[in-house]
């Protein structure tokens, strides 16, 4: 018998967990997260946790309007996450979603402001669409060129491009601000609605939701059933293998990032032309980064991402409802969201690894 003491806990990698077990763990994590939130809420605010959960559900689904806003927020977050997927599958860590969305939005706003009086609305929308897509694509292409040609670090490069985009937007906001000196553009073409994307059936957000639904389906097939998608996953697994089988790696990188940036540009277009009708440095609102989480949590599966983006938006909307109904500070909603995300991300550990506890000698003998 081995006399040296085994550690109390040691961790081993699991082979694979059956999918139903994995989802069981995730479900358990959500339940645990909700219990943790309830405990924290009771201690900190003295409110009844059941009422808090009811408020969260009401905040996300309570009225038709809330459902639409939920749908709109999911659509935008999902759109950005979808844009990141091909790059991530290729192990190109595009953290520049925020900047690519902003620059796409900036291009749309530029068209609305500068061409608003010169082009008919339909043509203007076409120009805006082209400009947004091109701007987003170029913003992603720049780091891709550097990566492909000189092997620069794309994580830092794309991250830095976010700041450049933010400053560019800040610069143009000051050029277009109204009134002068206020640092705000306000709603562009508010009286005429020129360059506003059309509303389908009188619903403000339906167009955005449909566009993103379409992108989701296309992205699913592109990643799983197209030659491009296959090339992307080969490059992601091993660049050398890719080269060996005759894939032009540089070309794949450039092509994929053009696509990634273009979809971010679409997100910018939907935000500026579809809903906000203005441009500010915060129009993307950090969603370029939240989208990273959405994509990772769903293992880059476009269909799974519908659920993860739903989950994150639901939490955010629910949390903000809590703050309104119970008169708590807005940060309290963020605390709850933080707790829940901690559990959800943490549970992936238990799906991938097994905890082995030290067993008593007798039991060990029996097991052997």
């Amino acid at each position: 018998m081995n006399k040296s003491r085994a550690p109390l806990i040691h961790i081993t990698k699991r082979k694979t967990m059956p999918w139903y077990c994995a989802w069981g763990v995730r479900g358990a994590a959500i339940v645990a997260a909700l219990i943790a939130c309830a405990v924290v809420t009771m201690f900190m605010t003295g409110e009844n946790p059941i009422a808090i959960y009811a408020a969260m559900l009401k905040g996300a689904f309570g009225t038709t309007r809330k459902l639409w806003i939920l749908g709109q927020n999911i659509a935008i977050l999902l759109c950005i996450a979808l844009a990141l997927v091909p790059a991530f599958k290729m192990r190109f860590w595009n953290l520049g979603g925020e900047g690519q969305v902003l620059i796409g939005g900036l291009a749309a706003a530029a068209c609305m402001i500068c061409l608003g009086n010169r082009l008919p609305s339909g043509l203007l929308i076409a120009v805006m669409t082209l400009a947004s897509i091109a701007a987003g694509a170029v913003w992603a292409l720049i780091p891709a060129v550097f990566k492909a040609k000189w092997g620069t670090n794309e994580t830092l490069f794309t991250l830095m491009m976010n700041y450049v985009a933010t400053q560019l937007v800040a610069y143009f906001v000051i050029i277009w601000e109204s009134p002068k000196g206020s640092g705000k553009i306000g709603i562009i073409n508010q009286t005429t609605g020129i360059g506003w994307l059309p509303q389908i059936g009188g619903q403000k957000y339906l167009l955005n939701i449909l566009v993103v639904a379409m992108i989701t389906v296309i992205m699913y097939f592109y990643m799983n059933y197209s030659k491009h998608g296959y090339e992307i996953s080969v490059v992601g697994e091993s660049e050398r293998t890719a080269r060996y089988v005759g894939i032009k790696v540089e070309r794949v990188i450039l092509r994929t990032l053009l696509l990634s940036g273009a979809i971010c540009g679409v997100a910018g277009l939907l935000l500026v032309g579809g809903t906000d009708h203005t441009i500010t440095t915060t129009v993307a609102g950090g969603r370029g980064f939240t989208a990273v989480m959405v994509a990772w949590l769903a293992k880059f599966n476009p269909v799974g991402m519908v659920f993860t983006s739903f989950l994150i938006v639901f939490l955010g909307r629910g949390a903000s409802e809590i703050t309104t109904i119970f008169g708590l500070n807005h940060s309290y909603g963020d605390i709850l969201t933080g707790i829940i995300l901690f559990f959800i991300i943490g549970c992936e550990f238990f799906i991938n690894y097994r905890l082995n506890f030290r067993k008593s000698a007798g039991k060990e003998a029996a097991n052997v």
Partner: protein
């Protein structure tokens, strides 16, 4: 082929950016002025100013009248911002005093979220929606168009009198009078420093941390400066801008920069505690805005002016409860209790400040002193005798309304939001591009 497409797309982007730069050279094509040129001439003629300072006695409201009222409040930040806190305190107090229900939404950005927040508050049964930040205005207007049965009230906005919506209203106060009083306290402090030999008369330089470079801020620092100069004639002022309403670091750095430039007294128009913190650390006295902070800065805080939003909250609830129409603009004043001064902090202020402020305040109320008396300042060396202010802001940045009357710039008389945007002599502007 693909490269070709990439190049074409890149060129499209470049063209757009060039197009974006065009309006700078041709201001006639103005930013979002998409109404066409033919109706620009008579659109000013159709505008009717409708500004009141009325107060409603809420104690006369019956419970039947108030039972149907539910107020929705939209704030840009939360209670960490001195600006929003000032609103929150006033609205809560007024709502609780009258006994009406209210819902609060904090941290609502100046974008589509504001429209969504307003619409959700309508869904929740609110029949008065109030928003507190300038940039909320276009989104409040969008919501007002969609929900004609709900009253939308917006502080600091400029467009209610132009929109022709009977359910959309602006409110502001003659805070320039409060700032003038703050300036008087500052001037007395400068005089004290000169008498003590701490500075010479020409070193009486004030520093001012402003947020943006438009009328609301310009009117504020100019009135403050005129107040200071009315008691300390050698005073000069430097103003730095942060380009944000709430940026604690930038406000602190701005104050530090002014102090190192030789400013011996600081005032501000921004919403964080950044500048007061810098002043307390450096031991430089300051005049505050939005609320007293004698607790946080016991040695340096002199006095503070603020807008008390309670009278307006009572006005808006009272009018809706009685089923009466609200005026397009509402302007709070010293006499209706909307412009108030904090207690003078005797530890930092010059002796006799409190008495002097009472005296000047009485003169302001009586109309013996006019803050923007054109004989007290010059622009590029000349006295101003006529000025067209941009009260109807169509996005064209051209003034259309004469505001100089009997030697006074009539601030907040026709429209509640400030319109004074002249750069007067004696004030040096720094970082106007939000450096």
């Amino acid at each position: 082929m693909k490269k070709l497409i990439a190049i074409v797309l890149a060129l499209t982007l470049c063209l757009c950016l060039f197009a974006a730069c065009a309006p700078k050279e041709k201001p006639a094509d103005g930013a979002d002025n998409a109404e066409g040129t033919e109706n620009t001439e008579n659109r000013d003629a159709n505008v009717k100013f409708d500004n009141s300072s009325e107060m409603v006695d809420v104690s006369s409201l019956t419970s039947e009248q108030t039972a149907k009222i539910k107020v929705g409040l939209i704030y840009l930040h939360d209670e960490n911002s001195t600006y929003d806190l000032n609103f929150m305190n006033a609205s809560k107090e007024a709502c609780e005093k009258i006994g009406v229900e209210y819902l609060i939404k904090t941290n609502i950005p100046e974008g589509q979220e504001c429209y969504e927040a307003a619409a959700e508050l309508v869904d929740a049964g609110c029949n008065i929606i109030f928003a507190d930040s300038f940039g909320h205005e276009p989104y409040m207007i969008e919501a007002a168009k969609e929900f004609p049965e709900v009253e939308f009230c917006h502080a600091t906005g400029t467009r209610a009198h132009m929109e022709g919506l009977s359910n959309y209203h602006n409110a502001f106060a003659t805070i320039y009078e409060g700032r003038y009083l703050g300036g008087v306290a500052a001037g007395m402090k400068l005089n004290e420093m000169i008498e003590n030999g701490y500075i010479t008369a020409d070193e009486a330089k004030i520093g001012y941390v402003g947020a943006f470079t438009y009328a609301e801020v310009i009117s504020g620092y100019t009135s403050f400066f005129l107040g200071a100069r009315s008691v300390c004639p050698s005073a000069t002022m430097e103003v730095t801008f942060t380009g944000s309403w709430y940026d604690e670091t930038a406000e602190k750095e701005g104050a530090n920069k002014l102090i190192s430039n030789g400013c011996v007294l600081i005032s501000l128009h921004a919403d964080s505690m950044g500048a007061p913190t810098a002043c307390q650390t450096a031991g430089v006295p300051f005049v505050f805005y939005n609320g007293a902070c004698a607790d946080a800065c016991p040695d340096t805080f002199i006095v503070s002016s603020r807008i008390n939003w309670e009278p307006y909250t009572e006005y808006m609830i009272g009018k809706v409860a009685k089923g009466e129409a609200l005026s397009a603009d509402w302007t709070g004043t010293l006499s209706n209790g909307a412009v108030v001064m904090s207690e003078v902090n005797e530890k930092a202020a010059a002796p006799g400040t409190a008495e002097k402020l009472e005296e000047v305040k009485a003169d302001l109320i009586a109309g013996k002193i006019k803050v923007f008396d054109t004989s007290t300042f010059t622009v590029e060396g000349k006295e101003i005798t006529t000025y067209l202010a941009d009260l109807n802001d169509w996005g064209d940045f051209t003034g259309e309304t004469e505001v100089i009357e009997n030697g006074v710039f009539n601030e907040s008389a026709l429209r509640s939001a400030p319109a004074f945007d002249l750069n007067i002599d004696g004030i040096t502007l720094l970082d106007t591009n939000f450096g």
